[in-house]
Symmetry: C2
Subunit: 332 residues, 2 copies
Amino acid sequence: MLEHGGALKAAADRYDIALSDWLDLSTGINPLNWPVPTVPALIWQRLPEREDGLEKAAADYFGSAQLLAVAGSQAAIQALPALRRTSRVGVLSPGYAEHAHAWRRHGHAVALLSPDALAAAVGELDVLVVINPNNPTGTRVAATTLLEWRARLAERGGWLVVDEAFMDATPERSLAVHAGLPGLIILRSLGKFFGLAGARVGFVLAEAELRDRLQAQLGPWTVSGPGRWVATQALADRAWQQQTRASLPQASARLAGLLGRHSLAVSGGTALFQWLLHPQAEYFQDALARRGILVRRFDDPPSLRLGLPATEAAWRRLDLALAALRAERGTP
Amino acid sequence: MLEHGGALKAAADRYDIALSDWLDLSTGINPLNWPVPTVPALIWQRLPEREDGLEKAAADYFGSAQLLAVAGSQAAIQALPALRRTSRVGVLSPGYAEHAHAWRRHGHAVALLSPDALAAAVGELDVLVVINPNNPTGTRVAATTLLEWRARLAERGGWLVVDEAFMDATPERSLAVHAGLPGLIILRSLGKFFGLAGARVGFVLAEAELRDRLQAQLGPWTVSGPGRWVATQALADRAWQQQTRASLPQASARLAGLLGRHSLAVSGGTALFQWLLHPQAEYFQDALARRGILVRRFDDPPSLRLGLPATEAAWRRLDLALAALRAERGTP
């Protein structure tokens, strides 16, 4: 398994700062998550059943009923490579690293592709994996481009896998309404926009034959009853979604502005995080961690990803820490 | 995938009886489940992390730290067959059908073995799967016998898989304290005794090398944050466990007595269900369902499994229904 952000406990140990004293900006999870009510006892007790309303709520939300609920998109990332013979797989890079890892684990030949190299590679791949918008760079690929690649791949039995984990703030750019097209596989999650990463609920939107094979591979009851119950309500809560689609981009723009005022120009982002290339990424991660602020660092290329502060106190704390870093480094 | 008990909705449709009017005895789940408190918002929001106390609580509960948390024992049943080359696999039969199904799916040669045939078969198997106590027959195999089989299988790199889903009421008979012995794989679950089937939390107790391979196969974050949080507390609640270990066998004996008084002698059982062989199993299942009582039927051999009623009203309702069936059939 790969190492992941969110490992707050490790940082707490390493920097000897109590867990509760950290400002954790290391994830792209909405810190103002959908408010979860108390789960009824029967939902904990009984085996989760289909026809409890989740699939219907998800179909309304995505604009397509061609879907399968899974235990977070990670479950699909882990299982999809087992459903193909050894294939030539292209994966957008830099990008969420679990994709390449999972395909390699199953013996596929994986090529890491920069955004510019995707178009030229489509002709020589069996599977192309695009994270859209990309994590951590924020790069987007237009739906028309993706659909064209999908058609070319499908002609020879190939797949286009589109990881839309960060798409919920911009549903108009999603390929979900095209679900069911041959070879098109879309991954969605309730982890980021809804801020329910702990619930482990995601969806695979794809044609029926592939969903059936994936379901057989994963087995029954892979999503917990409480997870299904909570997701059903969150997906149906249009008022919360609308408000969140308005507030997240504002918060993300505020984060970009704050970083810019401290001479840290962002290189990309989404509604849920900002990303900045910086040769001293390691220094910044460490210097912020010494002040109890956890951000995510990437090494190739050296860069940082910052999620959204949740409260005014958190914004102030980040602002003060970045000011202190400027002083520490003698930057104007 | 196989069909399973617990499909109350299908019965509600078929018999045109509202969901809320059913007495569901079709599962072996404790109807008086561990009482779940409200889950904190942060547990829903954050990715589930290790070192949150679950593994420690489980190690204390099982008497062994050689464990891996999984999303219900079903997740392990589904994944274990992928970790071996094509093998000769013996599975106790009749028994929980997902075992044979999962091994067959991965191309292994599966032999269904009656309890009497197990001992003789060990010498010719690579993997032996024993459900102990067995579901639905209630058959038990002694720990000493299992350990002897384990040793013989391990000599040639084989596995003994012991599904202890119904073991929690009799922990003194568990093999958990022997976890770590080569080739020994024990499956546990919080679904039955704790009555938390919806939470999807189970454990694989086995040697470290196998746990590592299984973990890599399953990937990160397979158990939800709320599931981990609830399981941690349930596993630590010794007072509830002690009380439940006293009350469940009483309730199960009461169920056997009630069935006996209606000329339905039980053939086996555990603290959580009673099982009865009966040539008219299909009639009984249908006749009870017409009265809004759902029980589980098995065809080979024809038999019924009944879980425990939760309330005095439920006990009375079952009693009255069985009396009505006697009248309907003209049985004394």
